[in-house]
Amino acid sequence: MAKGRTDFLLLLTLALALPSTGQAMHISEGILPPKWAALWYAIAIFFVAWGLRDLRVKSAREPFFKPMVGLIGAAVFVISCMPIPVPIAGTCSHPCGTGMAAILIGPTLSVVVSSVALLLQALFLAHGGLTTLGGNIVSMGIAGAFTGWAVFRLSRRAGLSPWAAAFLCGMFSDWATYAATSFELASALHGNSSFLHMFAAIGASFLPTQLPLGIFEGVVTAGVYRFIAVRRPSLLECLGVEARRCPLVPQKTGGAK
């Protein structure tokens, strides 16, 4: 009985406190115990290496690819720093931008780009950390990017309009990020109590803010996509998002895809 009550209170504290710390999606330095930090690092390194292999292959074929990835990475970093208004929490939150990145440059390169972004944020903004970098890459990079990318592709294949697909991509990539973060936090912090309890508690505490935040991320992603599609459809073609033909690189055929 007492156990249940404590859990309830726990949930309440978390619900009030975690989101208000602003950067709840980054796992802060020092939270992950060594063995978990190492595990997440191992997974992260595998995916980053995969992304780097893609980068090498693609930029050998088309040197244009490397600056494009760097610039889109910078843009996604900047977008992830944009405050967007959140009515329920009464504050601003930041979009993750990983869904958008996954649409534009694919999931594996998004992981590479997120690893750089997360390192910069850890060093210069005190968001996240070095020992938790692996964990953050797994949740914010890998989970977000692959989910978002898969959702976008599947919904396009299912015949949804690009806007709707972009919306779903943004929303699910955001939710996936939070699910992964909750999982990592719970596994690190559950201590003597049960992991499932903790996971449920942390997950539930994120829920009230994360449900709307995911929707907002979806709306912003769709807005960004729409803006690009209206203003410069050729760019989407160029990145292989919509079609194959790339008018940007006139000498080469086939474009940057």
Binding site: R5, T6, S28, K66, A74, A126, G191
Partner: protein, 261 residues
């Protein structure tokens, strides 16, 4: 936005003093060592000692208190939550209890200690990174990582991103201002749609920039990989520094761990 560019500035890392002159590899290894020691620590004493040392050093190299406060705000919040959470969650020795919302909450000694440990680890870790970034410009950190084995492709992307983040931040500030004077953020719905336009503008500009940057790179001989220059040799002096600081850290670690058992 302005808050961001304020925090995200490597101005202090470009001053000239002992710590900025040190080889970035030395600093990176020391920082990593300190961070590992922090997460391996079993009592709050070592992290707290690291915290105090790093904060003192950060202030000493001239980072304003206000900026330090800004950077520490989020981690402080997280540390507090961890402390509260852990102290009511686990443990057997009750310290005191109170009734909240009809439930009896007991703060335990063990819980409090675990909470304190976690909170101190968070703050210590963050302070180490703040010090590192306050005395090392980002591009030197990237070089150091390359020397320590980070793949070339990763470093190239990191350098490009770092360079153009500033260009795009300026752009973002400009676009936000232009939207504001046309009331783009009056209300939730408009705010969201303006955020979409803003993100779109940033990405479009980034892509255009990529096209022209690629051309400018080609004109200067780029064929698919950015040359990063040779790696300087690791000076003997740096080895001594590394050894000395390493021994000092280890000493501090074992002393605090033993004393506070």
């Amino acid at each position: 936005m302005s808050l961001l560019s304020e925090i995200f500035s490597d101005l202090f890392a470009r001053q000239d003093h002992i710590l900025t002159r040190m080889d970035p590899r030395t600093k990176l290894i020391i920082a990593l060592g300190a961070l590992c020691a922090v997460i391996f620590s079993r009592t709050a004493a070592f992290p707290l000692a690291v915290l105090v040392l790093c904060l003192a050093a950060t202030l000493a190299v001239g980072v304003p208190k206000r900026l330090l406060g800004l950077r520490l705000a989020a981690p402080l919040g997280i540390a507090l939550v961890l402390l509260v959470l852990q102290s009511v969650m686990a443990g057997t020795t009750p310290l005191w209890s109170f009734v909240a919302l009809g439930a009896k909450v007991t703060v335990t000694r063990e819980g409090l200690l675990v909470g304190l440990l976690l909170a101190s680890r968070v703050l210590a870790g963050v302070s180490v990174m703040l010090l590192l970034s306050a005395v090392t410009p980002a591009h030197r950190i990237f070089h150091a990582m390359r020397m320590l084995g980070a793949p070339q492709g990763w470093v190239e992307i990191a350098m490009l991103m770092y360079r153009y983040i500033f260009v795009l931040l300026d752009l973002t500030a400009e676009v936000v201002a232009a939207q504001k004077v046309r009331l783009g953020y009056a209300g939730m719905r408009r705010g969201l749609s303006s955020a979409g336009q803003l993100g779109g503008t940033v990405i479009l500009r980034a892509m255009d920039q990529a096209v022209s940057t690629n051309q400018a790179m080609r004109v200067r001989g780029y064929t698919g990989s950015i040359p990063l220059g040779p790696l300087p040799a690791f000076a003997a002096r740096e080895g001594w520094i590394l050894g000395a600081v390493g021994v000092a850290l280890a000493g501090l670690f074992f002393a605090t761990e033993a004393l506070c058992k």
